[in-house]
């Protein structure tokens, strides 16, 4: 084997071991498949000063999912999980639309809806920290009850609002050529990334997720950080709720954000954040959410019959998760003669969290 070949192989191995390599590779693969199947898929046109095209659509329709997944990342980083985001999406959209339909101003409607989301996040956080209820159960309570609250607000009806009110801009408007929803997502992701990586906040969150009891003993206010995570998650879900309801100018307490919690958790995991808590990746989550949205777009454009959509999704999820699994890569790599055998990286199950008495 000549030395140049060996060096390039080493580089390739380093590249494939990067935590974002496989998610990005799958996203690129999906885009390439689309570009082949649908001519002009990658084209972006300018019409009336706005950008249009399939890629922009993926960003625009994926915006709510990215918002929810962003919040979910923080909760999962603290070692928790939030099943209630779908209900919060419904509640915030219902609250905003109800107030606007009652003749309140846009600012009042958004402020009250935002405040309600803060309270819901605080409720989840306090259940997890003060009552030490397991997160999946603590947030299950709001997941079940929240749909009821959303329907209570809408009175069991679908509230429609005037399409001329400024509320529609959030999900359907354009600013500087880009959809407003995409700009909101960009700003939120940038703010979260700066807060998490340019201050100590991200490190503290990872520390709490790694071992809450040890973090408490070194003087980190673990319960405060966990509550913060749930509040942030609820607020993100609330903003996603505005996007979804404003896009259609209507609030549906029953179906808005239905099953979005599963998509969001999936996006976080596809992005390489482990459900056991600890290290998290905001960029990974964004890529994960984009994979899911591109997949949905692919299903429509490639003409896969809607009845087999779920089977197709299951296949892709399994495929991506297997690619990310070190154990799977080791097994496949070993079978290929002469191929580089990846060194056994620590499997996620090995760093089993230390049980601490609550």
């Amino acid at each position: 084997m000549n030395p140049v070949n060996a060096v390039s192989r080493a580089n390739l191995a380093r590249l494939t071991r990067h935590r974002l390599f496989w998610p990005v590779a799958v996203l690129v693969l999906l885009l390439v498949v689309n570009a082949v199947v649908t001519p002009g898929f990658l084209a972006i046109r300018v019409r009336d000063g706005h950008l249009y095209g399939s890629l922009i659509d993926i960003l625009r329709f994926g915006a709510p999912l990215i918002m929810v997944s962003l919040g979910m990342t923080m909760v999962i980083a603290t070692g928790g999980i939030d099943l209630s985001v779908g209900s919060v999406v419904a509640i915030s959209g219902a609250m905003a639309c109800y107030l606007i339909s009652e003749g309140q101003g846009l600012a009042v409607a958004l402020a009250l809806s935002f405040g309600l989301c803060l309270v819901l996040g605080l409720w989840n956080g306090l259940l997890v920290t003060r009552l030490s209820i397991q997160p999946i159960i603590a947030t299950l309570i709001l997941m079940v009850g929240g749909r009821g609250i959303a329907q209570l607000i809408t009175g069991g009806q679908i509230i429609t609002i005037d399409r001329d009110s400024g509320y529609r801009e959030i999900g359907g408007g354009h600013l500087a050529g880009l959809p407003v929803a995409v700009l909101i997502v960009l700003a939120s992701v940038a703010a979260a990334a700066v807060l998490a990586r340019r201050t100590a906040l991200g490190l503290l969150l990872e520390s709490v997720g790694g071992n809450a009891e040890a973090s408490r003993l070194v003087g980190i206010r673990a319960s405060g950080l966990i509550v913060l995570g749930y509040v942030f998650c609820a607020v993100c879900a609330g903003v996603a709720g505005w996007m979804i309801s404003s896009d259609v100018s209507a609030a549906d307490g029953n179906n808005a954000g239905l099953w979005i919690e599963l998509d969001a958790i999936l996006a976080v995991v596809l992005g390489g954040t482990a459900l056991t808590g600890g290290r998290f990746s905001i960029a990974g989550t964004v890529v994960g959410a984009l994979i899911i949205q591109t997949l949905n777009t692919t299903i429509y454009t490639a003409g896969i019959p809607p009845r087999t959509t779920l089977v197709f999704e299951a296949a892709v999820v399994t495929f991506v998760c297997l690619l990310q699994s070190p154990a799977f890569r080791a097994k496949v790599g070993r079978r290929r003669p002469g191929g580089p055998v990846p060194p056994p990286t620590d499997p996620p199950s090995a760093d089993k969290k230390v049980e601490v008495p609550a």
Partner: protein, 344 residues
């Protein structure tokens, strides 16, 4: 006086189950006092009849959770099993018992396949079973997007006949099958090696491995058991509704997890009892029965009421459990830090 003497004899591990039992009795007594015809043996028997499939599914879930995993696919597997029953009997015209055997086999293999992926490729159970959930639900819709009704002599006979018990109480075959499954689960968990292995893996997988226990086999086994229970739950659901539909049992995985947790089993694994799961299912059943007896609630108030009761229940259990634990072993609850501990 007697209670004060008797209490310390209760083992700490049994407290959550006893609390759940007490709360169930309390809830049933409240219903009996509040509504006419509630406090009868038939209403109690109806709890088993109406929740037979949930009980069976939750028993499978108990195995998985005790081993430290989770299975989100159960609701979809219930729907898929019901769909296969309907297709097998009504479309293909096969005999009922044969169809049921095939369905149980399919469910078991489905669970075992997920267990294999989880163990061998180290995929997180939450994600692997989420993919299984999509797959099973998707297969349902691929088979048929519409509801298929079951027209089969065997299914009709089993579904429509009731077994009379002494005292004029009548129960369905589904309830009896569920109770037999429960007895089998108690036997397996407490009197067989498999049961010991499940608890050991839930307590600490590394330790179980070092002790030389068959970790790989047991992990695949628990998901296979859960798959089997889901398929059996699906068959019972088919008896109950006499139809197969891709939209059946949506969200049942959450009911099953809630029942297991209300029964005092820890989601971290290694601690809990299957009898707690039975009580958890009964508690959910009592809540739903009370809401039916109330009768005047809009659908959204029903949802809010269920979540409020769920919250009250879990909170009460936590508070009682925490106080009991603090009283019984103050030193073991948390090691005293050398330095003054920071406020949290």
């Amino acid at each position: 006086m007697t209670t004060a003497l008797a209490l310390p004899a209760v083992h700490r591990r049994h407290v959550p189950v006893l609390v759940t039992f007490g709360l169930f009795v309390l809830a049933f007594a409240t219903g009996a006092l509040r509504y006419e015809n509630f406090g009868t043996a038939q209403v109690f028997a109806d709890l088993f009849i109406d929740n037979a499939f949930l009980l069976v599914v939750a028993i499978g879930m108990t195995f998985v959770i005790l081993s430290g995993g989770i299975d989100l696919s159960v609701g979809s597997v219930v729907a898929l099993s019901g769909m296969l029953c309907a297709v097998g009997t009504s479309r293909l015209g096969l005999p009922g018992p044969l169809v049921i055997l095939v369905v149980l086999l399919v469910g078991t293999l489905f669970g075992a396949a997920m267990g294999y992926v989880i163990h061998v490729f180290e995929i997180q159970p939450f994600i692997a079973t989420l993919a299984g959930m999509f797959l099973a639900r998707g297969l349902c819709f691929t088979i048929s997007e519409k509801q298929i009704s079951i027209e089969n002599g065997f299914f009709d006979t089993v579904a429509l006949n009731r077994v009379a018990l002494p005292g004029g109480v009548r129960v369905s075959a589904g309830a009896i099958i569920a109770l037999v499954t429960f007895a089998a689960a108690v036997y397996v968990l407490h009197w067989t090696r498999t049961g010991r292995n499940v608890y050991a893996i839930g307590g600490g997988e590394q330790s179980a491995l070092f002790m030389g226990l068959p970790v790989a086999r047991t992990k695949i086994q628990v998901y296979a058991i859960s798959g089997f229970c889901s398929a059996l739950g699906g068959v019972l659901f088919a008896f109950y509704t006499l139809s197969g539909d891709g939209l059946h049992a949506v969200g049942m995985e959450l009911d099953a997890i809630a029942a297991v947790v209300i029964g005092g089993t820890m989601l971290t694994g290694g601690s809990g009892y299957v009898v707690g799961t039975l009580l958890g299912v009964l508690v959910l059943g009592v809540i739903k029965t009370m809401l039916t007896f109330e009768g005047t609630l809009s659908s959204w108030w029903t949802r809010i009421a269920i979540s409020v009761l769920l919250f009250a229940f879990i909170a009460l259990q936590r508070l009682v459990g925490i106080r009991r634990r603090a009283r019984s072993s103050p030193s073991a609850s948390s090691p005293a830090p050398a330095s003054p501990s920071p406020t949290s």
